[in-house]
Structures are given as C-alpha cells and as structure tokens.
C-alpha cells in the first residue's frame, strides 16, 4: 500500500455501494449455492446478505468501528462455514469473511481510487481492476499446478487427488509414505544416483568449453562470428527428439550408445548454449582495460584470467553452469535414446512412472525437485544481482 494517495478518497453513496456489493455477494453465493445443492438460493441469499452487511457496515459501523466490524464478519462467516461443511467449511468461510470485510470498506469508502489518477472515468477504473483480476488469474494458472502437487505428495492413499480425509485436515489423511517409497526403492535411488553422477560431469564439460569459447567470442576480431554462434546455440534450438535420434544413430556407430560417457557427452552438448549465452552476456559488461592493466603490470595471460577476469565474470559462469546443470538434470528425451537401463535418470524414472505404472511417488519426487528449483532460482537471482553490482563497480 502506498503511503500517499493520488486521488482524494471520499465515501461513495450507498446507491452505488450496495448494488455493487450485492452483485459480488450474488457471484460468491452462486458457487456456494451450487456446491450445497441449489444455485438460485445461493445467488439470491448471497446478494441479500452482502447488501445488508454493506448497509450496516457503511452506515452504523464506519470509521473507528471498522476493525470490529471486519472481525465480526470474518468470525460470522467462519462459523457459518463450519456449520455447513465442518473444518474445510470453516477455512473457506474465514477466507470469504476476510475478503468481504475488506471488500465492503474498499468499495464503500471509495478506497479503490486511492492509487489511480483522478481524471479516470468510472469505466476506466473498472477496466483497471478487471485487468488486474485477469492478470491474477493468469498468474494463478502459472503457479497452481506446481503448488497443487506439493500437498498431494503427502497423501496417505495412492491417489492423485485430494481425499476426503485430506480435505477434513484429518492427520490420518496425510503421511510421508511416498517419500519413504522414494528413499527406500532401489529403482528410484539408482535413478537419483545416476542423475547425480551424470549432471555434474556434463556441467563441468559444458562450463569449461563454454566459458573459454565465450571469452574467445567476445573478442572483437573473430571471423565468422555469427556462423560460429549459430552453431554453438543450435543444440538449444534443434528439437530434442531430433538431437536424440541423431545421437542415437551416431553414438551406436561409435559404441557410445548405452554408456555413461555417451550420456554425459550428449548432455554436455545440450548444456553448452546456456553457458555461452549467460557468459557472453556477462562479458558484454566486462571492462577490457582491466586485462590490459593486468598485462601492463606484468601478469601473464593465465594469471590475468584467473586473478582478474574470472572473479568478475564468475557470477555469469556459475549461473550458466546452473542452467547447464538443470538442463542435464531435467533432460529425458536424449537420455531415453542415448542411455540404456544402466543410465536411467530421475526424469526417465518419472517418465516411466507417468506413462506406465502410475505411482504417487512421482509427486514426492516432484515436490523435492520443485524445492530444488526454488533453491536454484534463488541462487541465480543472487548471482545476477552480484554480477550487476560488480559491473557497476568496474569503471566501464
């Protein structure tokens, strides 16, 4: 919330507030009504209830009594929810209560105009908030599938959906069963082990080659720079199935198909574009006079690289490495073709799990992987900030 307001906030007339609140109540009531058996009753009931609540709050309970009124609404709706649907009803009711308590005053007191420029027409204000709601729904679409997986992984049953016990918040509905499965099953442990041994080696290869090449590419006098760049980025662009097919054919000729090194080489190739892109981006901000200064003071190229250039581009190199790591760690198509049963990685095991015997252990693995990606995301973000700070420090 901003501490200042763009527009003077003034109380709206009841002739505006009450119908708006009634409409909102009708909308919410419709859902509750259908859930409980009758849509129309819910529709009318919701409208009437919210109109009355609004009327009472905005006339009798305004100003200093606002806090009390909001708590009353919250508790009242929670109690109503509990009466209808026990514990889950209580939670839903409380949420509704919190929201409507805020909504009544937000509409009635005209607070919704606070952060908007004064000259907006009512239509524009409506559009402004509709747009926010649309965006919120898209964000919801983006994040829900990932969030839904997490509680489901604690399911005590072998179902892929919420059981009634889970919805009742009954502790019996939850268990660490699927996590135990993951840690006790030799298949999953072997897969985890394979992933852990393949990804770092592939990452090391791509980071080493990729960083050297990015430094070479950042020099101004490289012939065929565009063509070289296009070749080096191509593993990212060529569909994985085509890379997988080609590698399968070619590596069988070389005897690499079905070996550990075959998979490592394939994954290193797939990770290289990410290293190239991130390191090149970091090098754009790199001040070349620093290496010249180092050379001027007698450092040889190797010393210059490790003592001057490397510390400055390190954030880029590490985040490129993380990208390469996650590429290899997540990759399933290429390993499916280039690897054999001995190189079965975690994603491969998940893929089999999804396609053949559906086991909720996958959800436990998924939750672990999501935690891992949150960790990686945080690391990359910290590195990016550090890189920007370092760049700001250099006199470029």
């Amino acid at each position: 919330m901003a501490t200042y307001t763009l527009t003077h906030v003034e109380k709206k007339p009841l002739s505006f507030s009450v119908p708006v609140l009634a409409a909102a109540g009708a909308f919410a009531g419709l859902f509750i009504g259908t859930a409980q058996g009758s849509g129309p009753i819910g529709f009318v009931g919701g409208a009437v209830m919210l109109a009355l609540l609004g009327l009472v709050c905005l006339t009798a309970l305004s100003n200093d009594k606002e806090k009390i009124a909001r708590w009353l609404i919250l508790l009242g709706m929670a109690a109503a929810g509990y009466a209808f649907g026990a514990l889950p009803g209580l939670v839903v009711g409380a949420l509704f209560g919190w929201f409507f308590g805020w909504f009544i005053y937000w509409i009635g007191e005209g607070r919704y105009r606070a952060n908007l420029v004064p000259y907006l027409t009512p239509g524009q204000v409506l559009w402004h908030y509709s747009f926010r709601v649309i965006c919120g729904m898209i964000f919801f679409f983006l994040i829900t599938p990932i969030v839904v997986v997490m509680p489901l992984s604690f399911n005590a049953e072998n179902f892929f959906t919420f059981t009634p016990e889970m919805l009742r918040f009954d502790p019996a509905g939850y268990s660490l069963k699927h996590y135990r499965d993951f840690f006790n099953s030799p298949d999953w442990q072997q897969a985890l082990w394979n992933s852990v041994t393949i990804a770092p080696v592939a990452t090391l290869l791509s980071v080493t080659f990729g960083t050297l090449a990015a430094i070479g590419l950042s020099s101004e006098h490289v012939p065929f720079k565009r063509a070289i760049m296009a070749i080096l980025i191509s593993p990212m662009i060529v569909p994985l199935i085509i890379s997988a097919a080609g590698m399968y054919f070619f590596y069988s000729r070389l005897g690499l198909q079905g070996t550990y090194w075959g998979v490592v080489l394939a994954h290193a190739a797939l990770g290289i574009p990410f290293v190239i892109i991130t390191v090149t981006a970091t090098l754009v901000g790199f001040d070349r006079s620093l290496t010249r200064a180092a050379a001027n003071m007698g450092a040889n190229p190797v010393t210059t690289f490790f003592r001057v250039q490397m510390p400055l581009i390190l954030p880029g190199v590490i985040s490129g490495g993380l990208f390469a790591f996650i590429t290899s760690f997540d990759e399933v198509v290429v390993v499916l073709f280039v690897g054999s049963a001995g190189q079965k990685t975690l994603p491969w095991q998940m893929f089999i799990g999804l396609r053949e015997q559906i086991s909720p252990t996958i959800l436990a693995v998924a939750t672990i992987l999501v935690s891992l990606s949150i960790l990686l995301l945080a690391t990359v973000e910290v590195l990016r900030r550090r890189s920007e700070r370092l760049r700001g420090m250099s006199p470029g």
């Binding site: 012939p223 070289i228 080609g246 998940m350 990606s373």
Partner: protein, 597 residues
C-alpha cells in the same frame, strides 16, 4: 590483448631511436583524451611523408595488422575446442541422421548378384524375372541366411511391401534344401563328395600347386559388404589356379565358405564339409558342360565321373524351388519393390514421410486411408499455432503488468513466472496429469461445486485439449520473458502523451504502445513455436492418440517399429522447418540477444 600490448611497449621504448615520425604519433595521441588503437593507422594514412614505422622498422600499419591477426588466432584458439566438441557430439549426429534418411545400401549389399541381374528386367512387363535372376537370388540369399542378414533385409523391404519379412524368414529356413535331389544324387553316387579333406584338396589344387587368390579377394569383398565386419587375415586356404579357371563359380562359393568358416565360425576350413551352395554351384557348372578333358589336378577322376552321372539328372530349377517354398515369389510387386530399392540411395523415405510412394510408373500419392504423416504434420503445425496463440493471449497482459508496475512489485511477480520456468518439465507435466484427470483436481472441484455431475466428468486429458493446456503452461514463460524485456524499454510517457493529445485508451494502446511491443511478440512467438513443434514428452504423456505430435511418431519409428530411415526422413523435414524459423529468429531478434532469466 597481450600480443598487441607488447608491440606497443616496444614501440614506446624505441621512441627516441626513430625520431620525427614517432613524435607525430605521440602528439596525435596525446591531443585526444582517449587514444584508440587505430589512431596510428589514421595518422599513417593522413601523412603523405611516408608510413609510420613500428619499433622493428616495419610499417605500423603492417605491425598492427599482425597484432590483430594474432588476436584473431587467439580468439579462434579459444573457440576451437568447443567448436570441435559440438561438431563431434552434436552436428555429426545430425549429419548422420540426414544421411540415414536417404541411405539404402542394405538391398544392394545383401542381394549383390540379384541386383545386377535385375538391371535388365523391365518391371513394366507382365512377367516376373527369369531363371538367371532366381539363381542369383539363391547365391545371395544362401549366404545371407548363413550370415543371418536376410531377416534384416526382410525387415527393410517389409516397410515398402508388407509380407516380405516373413517371406524372407521362410526362405532362410528352406534354402538349404534347394537342389536337394541333385546334391543327394551326387553324394550317393560317390561318398567322397561329403569328405571335407577331399573338397579342400580339390579346391586348393593340392600341395605345391599354382595358386590364384583372385576369387578369394572377391569373396572377401562380398562378405565385407554384406556383414560390415572385416574378413582380413589368413583364411588358411588359397584356391588353386587350374581349378579356378575351370570352375570359377564353385571356387568363388568355396572361397566365401572358407572365409566365413574361418572368421565368423572360427573353424578350420579343411575340417569342415562345404555348405550346400558350394555343391549346388559345382553341380551347376558340371551340368553346364564344362570341359574337363585337360584337367589333371587332384580329384580329376571323381569330377569326370560326377559329370557323367549328372548328365542323366534333371537340371536344378531355382525358380521352381523358390515358388515351392512360397508362391509369393511369383508376385511381380515384390520384384518391383526389390528393383525400386536396389540403388544405394533412395528418396523413398522422404516420399513416405509426405504420404507419397514410389511405384514403377513414378511417384504417386498413397491411398487415402493410409495418409498419416500429412495429417500429423498438419496437426503439429495447427496445435503449435494454437499454443503460440494462447501464449500470446496469456503472456501479453502479464508482460504488460510486469513492465508497468513499480520495479519491486514487478520483481516479486516475476518470481511467479520464473518458478515454473525453473521447475522440471516432468514435474509440470505430472502436475497437469494430476489436475486434468477424470479423477483429478479440476474435475473434483467442478463436481464439488455442483457444476457437473459426478458421472459426467469432463475428459480433459489424453486429447488435444490436454496437450494444448499443458504445453501453453510449460511454454508461457518463454513468451513472457522476451515480451517483458521489450516492454521494459517502452517509456510509459508515450501512452500518456497520446492520451493527452486526445487519444482514447484503446487508440493510445493500439496505435502507440502495441506497435512498439511487436518485436517482443515476434521473438516470443518464434521461440514458443520452435519449441512446441519439436515437443515430445508432454504430448506423449497427456496427448493420448489425438494430441500427439510428429515427434512422437519419430520416437515410435526409432524405438518400436525400428524403421530408422523413415524416422530420419521425418526428423529431417522437422529439422528443416525449425532451421527456417531459427534463421528468421536470428534475422529478427539476433541469436546473441537471447536472454535467460
């Protein structure tokens, strides 16, 4: 930097020695605040009084050029390891795939003699090929069956004409018995023909006889072509020169047998009875009236006796033998197929990939019921378009709001975009499976809300809808991020300016903001489109049968039907499409402008 740098040092150190010319340079460089490396070049160009010299007396221009060349080489040396790495681990496999899409050596390497015979056969005629072709087929298939290569060829030709695979497998079992009557007559007439030592002496011409290894090397080549193993080394057998002249076919078959025995079976030639094809070839040559009068080497008497005996026997009818084995050998379609696919390279796979087929009369469309690839390509394109479209629709508002909110809020919201981006693809796909199933979260909520009945749950997975929803979610960050980075650069004041000049909200957006955001839409769209037309995992898991892409078909041909040539051809077409888009992306956005995270 360094080579260039040392040059400059030298140049400074020797400044006094070179007098006048040098001081000009110093003046010029000190006159400006920031000297650049090419100052010297400019000065040397502008001076009429001769070139500026570097420390070692070479013109500065040349010296600078050398330094630049060194720098260039150093940059290339840094790039080279990666370039070689990518060429070997990535580009070569792609090349191999392209090669496989036209390669077709298996027919000509397995049916070496038959292919030669078929050259003169006219498929437009009504008749199937005659006896010589069948005889050639016998020699080829006998060896192929021994080396167990005939099933591979059968599988290959089965892609073009169904039934060939079982035909070849069947003949592989029965081919040992072709010419059985004659061979048995020969062996009954004189048991010496079953004696391995007698055969060895006959073929090698006995101890100390003149030798001729021409047939042996021909046999070696024949086997190498067939099996791709190398048959190099001593076979412990060299054909005799006299017998080679007299019975070339038999010697050739025996040499092949000898090499195969030594290298594939790892036995000794002299201790193994020759296989039936050798005896059949001898019978063929003796009955064709070879003149044995002048022959005096080992086994001369037995040969003459055998020739006399065989004169009373009926000749071996190869065509009949094949037809007895399976009457499908009389099918002209089979022979057309063999002839059509006998060249070492074929366009057949590509034609098949676009629902065409090769026939004697040229290229034709396949019957309507068998057209699958056209539909699949169209579906892939259509669904990629829909996914791209829905990504634009959903991504544009998000990119807009991210670009127009205060930086702190925008960064927080950006996490909601980046988290899916960083989450494992399989996690997201399994999440959608959880959400969309009939007993899944969305259906459960809808049932709970009473919007649908429990017994009429929506089918949202294993069809196109499931694939489109899941892939839109997966690819949405790839649309939002490029759009966001473009929209960040559009000043918000433009919109306000437009409005203050009287534009409505819509006009201001449509005429001022939108045109400036098009590069972002373009970049995101191409990226999403490229990624989606090659997608495999998600359609495989949530696509069922109607929501699969061309990639799924490629994977099927590699791992299940084993028709690698067709898989390679489909892959090449897909690759071509992607490369065109990649090229467009490079033109529009520039590869070096790709940003991550």
């Amino acid at each position: 930097m360094r080579p260039f740098h040392t040059d400059k040092n030298k140049f400074d150190k020797n400044k006094d020695a070179n007098g006048d010319t040098m001081s000009d340079v110093t003046d010029a460089t000190t006159a400006k605040n920031a000297p650049t490396p090419d100052d010297a070049l400019r000065i040397s160009d502008s001076k009429a009084s001769g070139p500026v010299l570097a420390a070692d007396g070479t013109p500065l221009k040349k010296s600078l050029k050398r330094a630049l060349r060194a720098q260039k080489l150093r940059a290339l040396a840094l790039i080279a390891p990666l370039l070689i790495f990518i060429l070997i681990t990535f580009i070569a496999p792609i090349g191999d795939m392209l090669f496989r899409s036209v390669e077709n050596q298996i027919v000509s390497s397995t049916l070496q003699n038959t292919v030669v015979e078929l050259e003169d056969w006219d498929p437009a005629g009504a008749d199937i090929p005659g006896e010589p072709t069948f005889e050639a087929l016998y020699w080829d298939l006998f060896l192929a069956a021994e080396a167990k290569e005939h099933t591979k060829l059968g599988t290959r030709l089965n892609y073009e004409e169904t039934g060939v695979s079982s035909l070849f497998r069947g003949v592989g079992r029965g081919i040992d018995d072709f010419g059985e009557d004659q061979v048995e007559a020969l062996e009954d007439f004189d048991p010496v023909w079953e004696d391995e030592m007698f055969w060895y002496t006959l073929m090698s011409g006995g101890d100390g006889a003149e030798q001729n290894s021409r047939h042996l090397s021909a046999a070696r080549e024949r086997l190498t072509t067939l099996t791709t193993d190398d048959f190099i080394g001593s076979a412990g057998f060299v054909p005799g020169a006299e017998i080679s002249e007299l019975l070339p076919r038999t010697i050739s078959e025996y040499s092949t047998f000898a090499l195969f025995t030594v290298f594939a079976d790892e036995d000794v030639v002299a201790e193994e009875e020759p296989w039936e094809a050798v005896k059949v070839s001898l019978i063929q040559e003796l009955t064709s009236g070879v003149d044995l009068a002048g022959y005096s080497g080992p086994g001369a008497a037995e040969l003459r006796a055998a020739q006399d005996m065989l004169a009373d026997q009926p000749a071996i009818d190869f065509k009949q033998a094949f037809l007895d084995d399976d009457e499908d050998w009389a099918d002209p379609g089979l022979w057309e197929t063999i002839k059509l696919y006998s060249p070492p390279f074929t366009t057949g796979y590509f034609l098949k990939a676009v629902d065409l087929q090769k026939t004697v009369g040229g290229v034709e469309a396949v019957p309507d019921g068998e057209k699958i690839y056209g539909t699949l390509f169209k579906r892939t394109l259509f669904m990629s378009m829909v996914i791209m479209g829905s990504c634009i629709l959903l991504g544009y508002p998000i990119a807009w709001i991210l670009a127009n909110l205060p930086v702190r809020t925008a960064n927080l919201l950006l996490i909601l975009v980046l988290l899916p981006f960083w989450t494992s693809l399989l996690v997201r796909t399994s999440a959608w499976k959880v959400m969309l199933q009939q007993q899944g979260v969305i259906n459960d909520i809808l049932v709970w809300l009473g919007m649908i009945a429990d017994d009429s749950r929506l089918v949202m997975i294993n069809n196109q809808f499931g694939t489109i929803v899941a892939m839109t979610h997966i690819l949405l960050p790839f649309m939002i991020l490029p759009m966001y980075s473009v929209m960040q650069t559009i000043p918000q004041t433009y919109l306000r300016a437009a409005k203050s000049l009287g534009a409505t909200n819509w006009t201001a957006f449509w005429r001022v903001y939108f045109p400036q955001s098009i590069p972002g839409i373009g970049a995101g769209s191409i990226l999403v489109f490229i990624l989606s037309i090659g997608y495999y995992i998600t359609p495989e898991i949530v696509g069922g049968t109607t929501g699969t892409f061309i990639s799924n078909r490629i994977a099927y041909h590699i791992s299940s039907s084993l028709n690698w040539g067709l898989a390679a051809a489909l892959g090449s077409i897909l690759l071509a499409a992607v490369l065109i888009l990649y090229w467009a992306y490079d033109k529009i956005v520039g590869i070096d402008n790709v940003k991550l995270g």
